[in-house]
């Protein structure tokens, strides 16, 4: 395999609040190869978005990276020994698309000037050249009448079209990595399907690596090569998409897949994972899924080491044991 594009190494992120220190990320490690699509799934508060923010250098007071680092093509990008010279990578080689395109576009600027701004800043193009490039970009993300639409404001675009504009901005500088944080959550399902197809197409054409953050397992199934499952600030399982869906090893992953209804199965009852994730002010020392785990025991109260399998890694000493009985 080629050398990794992005490496996240034992990353810890804390947020200092009045109630105490929230340990949002507790030792996250990941690596991403060029052109690869990695899905990060997990519930709200599991640390998916904080991971993305750390990679983008967006962790700011009261948050801080307390341990570990993020490396971009081998250079430390974020963390204690971050290389300041590596900073121009953000926004140029690594870009990000957010969930809500209405709040991430400036309502007072035309779409054209917002896209051109990025191009002028990062590629140093002249204004007319940047505008021509912006029009090309709009066409490439499937917006017709690009020339005319450049002079329109965000409110003149529908939700799906706005997300296309965000993606156009995201790929404006031909990045190597696009981080998409719940890019289709605010959209209707038919529009969602269009955006996901667009992302897959761009990836193929540009050789783009994508980190896709989502809570929807169906989206991961269609678009990703690999998945990382997060729970309470840690990665509990990573692996190839097919392997994880076919044979999930961690009890949480098993429960997550079984609690997702399909369009054909005739299940009478969904598998529900009782309880809720632990608070991260005082996260448990051992396995954080233990209170909700049907097969956990005394031995799970100690920190869980990552066990390496043929298709991935799992932080569970009982990995592979079926956790949820057939008849619940």
């Amino acid at each position: 395999m080629t050398s990794p594009l992005l490496e996240i190494d034992n990353l810890h992120v804390c947020f200092d609040t009045r109630a105490g220190t929230v340990q949002a990320l507790r030792g996250v490690s990941l690596s991403l190869a060029p052109g690869e699509t990695l899905g990060i799934v997990g519930e709200s508060g599991s640390g998916k978005s904080v991971t993305a923010q750390a990679v983008m250098g967006l962790i700011d007071v009261p948050g801080r990276i307390s341990e570990g680092e993020v490396r971009w093509q081998g250079r430390p990008l974020a963390g204690r020994n971050a290389d300041r010279d590596a900073r121009p990578v953000w926004g140029k080689e690594i870009t990000m698309v957010f969930q809500n395109p209405m709040t991430s576009l400036n309502p007072l600027m035309t779409v054209g000037s917002q896209i051109s701004e990025v191009i002028e800043l990062h590629l140093g193009l002249s204004r007319p050249a940047a505008r021509r490039r912006a029009a090309e970009l709009l066409s490439s993300v499937g917006i017709s009448g690009a020339e005319r639409r450049l002079d329109q404001y965000p409110h003149e675009f529908s939700g799906g079209m706005r997300q296309r504009v965000m993606i156009a901005m995201g790929i404006a500088c031909e990045p190597k990595l696009l981080i998409a944080d719940e890019p289709t959550t605010a959209l209707d399902v038919t529009i969602q399907a269009q955006i996901l197809e667009l992302m897959a197409e761009l990836q193929e054409k540009m050789g783009l690596a994508i980190v896709l953050i989502t809570h929807d397992l169906g989206i991961v199934a269609g678009l990703c090569h690999r998945v990382a499952v997060m729970y309470a600030g840690q990665i509990v399982e990573t692996g190839l998409v097919d392997a994880i869906f076919e044979n999930p090893l961690h009890p949480y992953t098993q429960g997550l897949i079984r609690s997702t209804p399909g369009l054909d199965a005739e299940e009478e009852r969904l598998t529900a994972i009782e309880g809720a994730p632990p608070g991260l002010l005082q996260p448990p020392a051992g396995c954080s899924f233990l209170p909700r785990c049907p097969i956990g025991d005394k031995g799970c109260e100690a920190p869980q080491a990552m066990r390496i399998f043929e298709t991935g890694m799992v932080a569970c000493r009982k990995a592979g044991v079926p956790a949820w009985s057939e008849a619940l």
């Binding site: 399902v189 169906g218 369009l263 969904l270 994972i273």
Partner: protein, 327 residues
């Protein structure tokens, strides 16, 4: 169906006033939903699905008489409630309840859980004494799977799933026959969503409640519903028992919608063919003539451009608003 329906809606239309933007100019009205008809049997769940702006929430609110119908009739448990007023409307309200989407904003943060759940009892004069109210609240908490000590706490100390349970307990307080659930689980995490869906199914089985389950998530709707209605641009385009909708959709829009749902199976998902109908959802302030789906429909003919189809019977209990396609 031999059983009398709990709810029977026929020919429902709801209009909204649009501000014209200028003073003294005539206000335009927007036809948000029209020609909506369906029945819900006692103990049955009808799933109402559509994309944003399709009018599904409007239908739910009209059924509950929170907004008034411009046309059509709403019959609840044998009584025409379309124009009910005053005390009789108030009494009706105790029998149909709503569960809302966002458990974070739909509960008053300054009230204890006991007060939130007991409020409908007090409003409807059904709480004879403080002691009795406490007992009823305790029963309701147990019913929805919340701990007994939840009664004296405030909403902020509960997770999203637990808050939705509080909302459900409150809706159950008046022993309703019908619950309109408007996207009740779409703000919840996957694992917690299953808890709430299971709870709603248990309650229906034990208490024989009818649900109008409004959602955009086709997989959840399929799981919980007995029958499903699909809305597009303010009209029901197809209604049928769930197996028929999901296995043998008739309307081209239903077909496209189902094919766009991502399924959590990588091998299947990669080879699935999506049925694409170009174009964006219609602007319902300026709807197209005839069938509202015709500009995007591959089967559209002259008739579709001129004449809006009503729900036509295509099979035993399977209705679709399409001139061109049969079961």
């Amino acid at each position: 169906m031999t059983v009398a329906p709990m709810l029977s809606v026929s020919g429902l239309a709801v209009d909204y006033q649009l501000s014209s933007g200028a003073l003294f100019r005539k206000h335009r009205s927007l036809n948000a939903v029209a020609d909506v008809s369906f029945d819900i049997a006692p103990g049955e769940t009808l799933g109402l699905v559509g994309e944003s702006g399709s009018g599904k929430t409007t239908v739910g609110r009209a059924v509950l008489r929170r907004i008034s119908a411009a046309k059509g009739t709403i019959v609840f448990d044998g009584e025409d409630i379309t124009r009910l007023k005053g005390e009789r409307l108030r009494r009706l309200r105790s029998r149909m309840q709503i569960v809302l989407q966002d458990p974070y904003t739909s509960l008053n943060p300054r009230m204890t859980v006991a007060d939130i759940i007991a409020e409908p009892l007090i409003v409807h004069g059904l709480a004879s004494s403080a002691e009795e109210t406490r007992v009823v609240v305790a029963e309701l908490l147990e019913r929805v799977g919340l701990p007994r000590d939840a009664a004296d706490r405030y909403p902020h100390s509960f997770s999203g799933g637990q808050r939705q349970r509080i909302g459900i307990a409150r809706a159950l307080a008046l022993k309703p026959s019908l619950i309109v659930a408007d996207e009740p689980v779409s703000a919840l995490d996957v694992s917690v969503r299953a808890q709430v869906v299971n709870l709603m199914q248990d309650l229906q089985r034990d208490l024989d409640i009818s649900y109008l389950f409004i959602a955009h998530d086709l997989a959840i709707v399929r799981h919980i519903s007995h029958r499903v209605a699909i809305m597009y641009a303010g009209r029901i385009v197809e209604i049928a028992p769930r197996a028929a909708i999901y296995n043998r959709p008739i309307h081209p829009y239903t077909e496209a919608l189902l094919s766009a749902v991502p399924i959590a199976n990588p091998k299947l998902q990669r080879v699935r063919r999506r049925i694409v109908h170009p174009g964006e959802a219609v602007d319902i302030a300026n709807p197209p003539s005839g069938c509202r789906f015709h500009p995007r429909c591959p089967l559209a003919t002259e008739r579709c451009r001129n004449e809006a189809p009503h729900l036509l019977r295509k099979a035993a209990e399977h209705f679709a608003a399409c001139w061109n396609r049969d079961a």
